[in-house]
């Protein structure tokens, strides 16, 4: 029987009180509860405060470039379908710099759980707006306040055909852990947008601000796309949490002939075994 503590490793470089701590503990708890061996798990991240998480969870880790957490995750799934692949990165990484990969990997639907630490602000670069920042939020760069409407990742994911769409709050750790377990076990791309306060740079969306607004709506039917869309679009005085949508569709892996059976990484090879390739050129 694994314990959450077995998956905690390293010395964190986060600010005391950061929402990342609860997300890290929930993830460790989720891995322990599913009894996933660390060598069978891969965590991919980009760059940012959230993206340091591969250093703090006992598992394989690919801490790549800013905005590029998802493409290596897909590549790793292709190389080894036995790996449980989790992407854990921030809102700037996932929705800003990595926007194109977010869009197209939802379409591809690889078996990846994507946990977005969404604090609605850029932390590591010290306080600029993120794609999910509230309109009007003033920063050192957005001096007149954020002018563009906030990107709605859940609604966007639903429109793109995501099979699993959920929203969590780092202040609801048990719910977060359960949702992570469901996302990891979901066959296909699973998005969990995790609201978290940034206690240093986001003075607007504070712990208290979220606490006052989040609630758990009754979700009778997580296969109802329209209902999921409606929940995704609720924002303001009331912010719903939960698994809004969960409906598997064929995965990327299932459509690729070479990915059936044993992982590619373990299949032996000898060049002479394909010497007949040149016959088509005679």
């Amino acid at each position: 029987m694994s314990k959450a503590e077995d998956y905690l490793i390293g010395k964190t470089a986060w600010c005391p009180g950061c929402g990342n701590f609860a997300i890290r503990e929930a993830l460790a708890g989720a891995l322990a509860e599913i009894e996933l061996a660390p060598h069978d798990v891969l965590i991919c991240s980009g760059i940012g405060q959230a993206a340091k998480i591969p250093h703090y969870i006992r598992a394989n880790g690919f801490n790549g470039l800013h905005g590029r957490a998802v493409p290596p995750a897909l590549g790793a799934r292709i190389a080894n379908t036995k790996l449980k692949v989790i992407v854990a990165s921030g809102d700037g990484d996932s929705y800003g710099e990595g926007g194109n990969h977010f869009i197209h990997n939802i379409r591809r639907n690889p078996d990846i759980a994507h946990f977005v630490h969404n604090n609605q602000v850029y932390g590591l670069t010290k306080g600029q707006a993120s794609p999910t920042s509230e309109p009007g939020m003033k920063t050192g760069v957005q001096v007149g306040g954020v002018a563009a409407p906030a990107l709605n990742p859940l609604a966007l994911a639903l429109v793109l055909g995501a099979g699993f769409v959920a929203r969590c709050f780092s202040g609801e750790k048990e719910h977060l852990k359960k949702t992570m377990i469901a996302a990891i076990n979901f066959p296909g791309y699973a998005l969990v947008d995790i609201l978290q306060p940034c206690i240093v740079f986001n003075k607007l969306n504070t712990y208290a601000w979220y606490k006052k607004r989040v609630y758990f709506p009754p979700i009778d039917n997580a296969q109802d796309w329209s209902a999921a869309m409606e929940l995704s679009r609720q924002w303001g005085d009331q912010i719903p949490l939960g698994i809004f949508y969960s409906q598997p569709r064929p995965t990327y892996e299932s459509s690729v002939p070479a990915l059936q059976g044993e992982p590619l990484a373990w299949k032996p090879f000898e060049p002479v075994s394909v010497a007949h390739l040149q016959e088509e050129f005679y």
Partner: protein, 568 residues
């Protein structure tokens, strides 16, 4: 003895169909040839043409002179008739246009009408091949077999095409039966008819590459096409990425997790990949990057050729990290050298760039079958007996190469890689001592990597008075130039680079001080190889022969330049 054929028309008229059927038929019949393409960046219209040259040994280049022209439109004749000889012939469709009244070399064949009678106007090209075969004094049997093979699942289409072929053959009979004599057949037995991109795709597959991710970009797309075409029957995955940034990051994820991976692109796409190349350097993840050069800057001339990205690929990527840059002198060389790229990438855990260009990628040649037993597949992974636990991905070693394990390979051991500077475990660090330790570890790999580079190929006189330097796809044209200059009494040689970075220096240092006149011949405007040699060895060349109009060199252009300086 040789025969030169030119087929020209608008984009969409199917010059490729003609040349592929004719080229394959000739190679299967035992003849040696080369077939090059000159095409515009458009799907319909414009002026495209292909050249096919048949000779006793596989020729290195095509030439301007034309023995048989297939003019699919009037423009082809207008643009190229000055390269015809008195004994040339021009196959054309008199329903489309007429040749000038004083032109007596015409072979009018109703290409469209005969095609329609055979089953559809789309087969006009097959009619043209029939006429060509007749002019060359060949039978239609081999071409008919090829048609049946390529339409194996559409017997009706195969029969219609066969009829079109015979109709073209018969229609030309009255004009010029076997009025050309083919060169002797190859003495090398069975040959392949293959283009550069196909060679690279096949070499990658035969090197155990199991993943290619790419965003389509001329002239590299043929590599992706080849590999994608094999995904149903072979253990390989081809993914069209949303952009080149995704392509290289996907490939790095796949390589990290255990397969040989490759990306293929051209200059613009490679520009987008550059951050990922730096990531490969920092994370020490093996990767092969094919860059098929075309003229830049920016979109440049998308369907033309250039060698303008040599310095770019050597320096691409922020920060300093080891890499290798290889190219190839020929189709034969490319097959084995791309395998070397995969072997080096795994052995040194570095990105290896393979420089191709449009001139190489799109050119078909007849080549002897490849020897697959010469290919290597050594993943250079740590074995269960060797692994030190707890496993550290970046363990410091004397060679700089750390024992590499894959995620999931060993029970209880995890593999952590990071784009930040990191310690031996892969964890982020910022202290100066660890930075120096890890930086030095990575750069130490260059010592052994430099020893893996092949010295440039020396062809011609061993003590030359004239030396021509070149790299990559100019090998063929330089060979012809050397042969021609030697034949006219010059003591001449060429030094040609396939492995370029780290620059192999022995032959440069041995030979250059002895030679009176050194020329560097490059398909670019700034003489990038010459600059590289000067930077690395302090040695300079005497004359530059540069071409950057998007077209490959013709032998006579180089000979003319050399003779200018040699006479003066």
């Amino acid at each position: 003895m040789e025969i030169n054929i030119l087929v020209g028309g608008e984009a969409g008229q199917g010059m490729e169909t003609v040349m592929n059927l004719l080229g394959r038929s000739l190679v299967r019949a035992g003849f040696s040839l080369i077939y090059t393409k000159d095409y515009m960046s458009r799907v319909r219209g414009g002026h495209n043409f292909s050249r096919l040259r048949i000779a006793g040994e596989t020729p290195w280049t095509t030439v301007a002179s034309i023995d048989i022209m297939v003019a699919l439109n009037a423009e082809t004749y207008a643009l190229h008739h000055s390269n015809l000889t008195p004994s040339s012939r021009v196959i054309y469709d008199p329903e489309l246009f007429e040749l000038p009244e004083d032109e007596n070399r015409g072979v009018p064949v109703m290409l469209k009408k005969l095609a329609k009678e055979a089953g559809g106007a789309v087969m006009a090209n097959t009619v043209a091949v029939g006429a060509l075969l007749l002019l060359l004094g060949l039978q239609t049997k081999i071409a008919e077999n090829l048609l049946h093979e390529s339409f194996a699942k559409k017997e009706g289409v195969a029969v219609q095409n066969t009829n079109a072929l015979r109709a073209g053959y018969d229609a030309a009979t009255q004009y010029c039966k076997a009025c050309f004599v083919l060169p002797p057949k190859s003495e090398h037995g069975k040959m392949l008819f293959i283009d550069g991109n196909q060679v690279l795709g096949m070499a990658a597959l035969a090197s155990g590459c199991r993943f290619i991710s790419a965003y389509p970009m001329t002239p590299s797309t043929g590599v992706l096409n080849y590999m994608a075409g094999k995904t149903n029957k072979y253990v390989v995955v081809a993914e069209q990425a949303e952009d080149e940034i995704a392509a290289i990051n996907m490939a790095l994820g796949a390589s990290y997790a255990g397969v040989r991976a490759m990306v293929a692109t051209s200059g613009g796409g490679f520009s987008l990949m550059v951050e990922g190349l730096s990531l490969a350097g920092m994370t020490e993840t093996p990767l092969v990057v094919i860059v098929a050069m075309r003229p830049g800057p920016a979109t440049g001339l998308p369907t033309r050729t250039e060698q303008g990205d040599l310095e770019f690929v050597i320096h691409a990527g922020h920060g300093e990290f080891p890499r290798a840059v290889l190219s190839a002198s020929s189709h034969e060389d490319a097959f084995y050298r791309l395998n070397k790229a995969f072997e080096l990438a795994d052995r040194y855990q570095v990105p290896v760039i393979f420089l191709s260009d449009q001139n190489f990628a799109d050119t078909h040649r007849s080549v002897q079958p490849f020897d697959f037993s010469r290919l290597g597949y050594d993943r250079a992974l740590v074995s269960a007996g060797e692994i030190e636990k707890p496993y550290q991905r970046y363990r410091v070693t004397e060679s700089g190469v750390s024992p590499r394990a894959l995620p999931g390979q060993f029970e209880g051991e995890t593999v952590l890689v990071d784009s930040d500077e990191h310690d031996q475990n892969g964890n982020i660090i910022e202290d100066a001592a660890t930075r120096r330790l890890m930086f030095d570890k990575r750069m130490r790999k260059l010592v052994a990597l430099a020893n893996e580079m092949d010295e440039p190929d020396l062809y011609g006189d061993l003590h030359p008075g004239i030396l021509l330097l070149g790299w990559g796809s100019t090998y063929g044209v330089l060979r012809e130039v050397i042969d021609a200059l030697a034949a006219s009494g010059n003591k001449v040689a060429m030094l040609h680079f396939s492995d370029i970075w780290p620059l192999p220096q022995k032959r440069i240092n041995d030979l250059l001080p002895e030679v009176k006149q050194i020329f560097c011949v490059e398909n670019n405007a700034t003489a990038q190889l010459a600059a590289l040699i000067r930077r690395e060895t302090g040695r300079s060349v005497d004359h530059l022969i540069l071409k950057y109009d998007g077209r490959p060199f013709l032998p006579e252009e180089i000979i003319e330049e050399v003779e200018k300086h040699v006479q003066s």
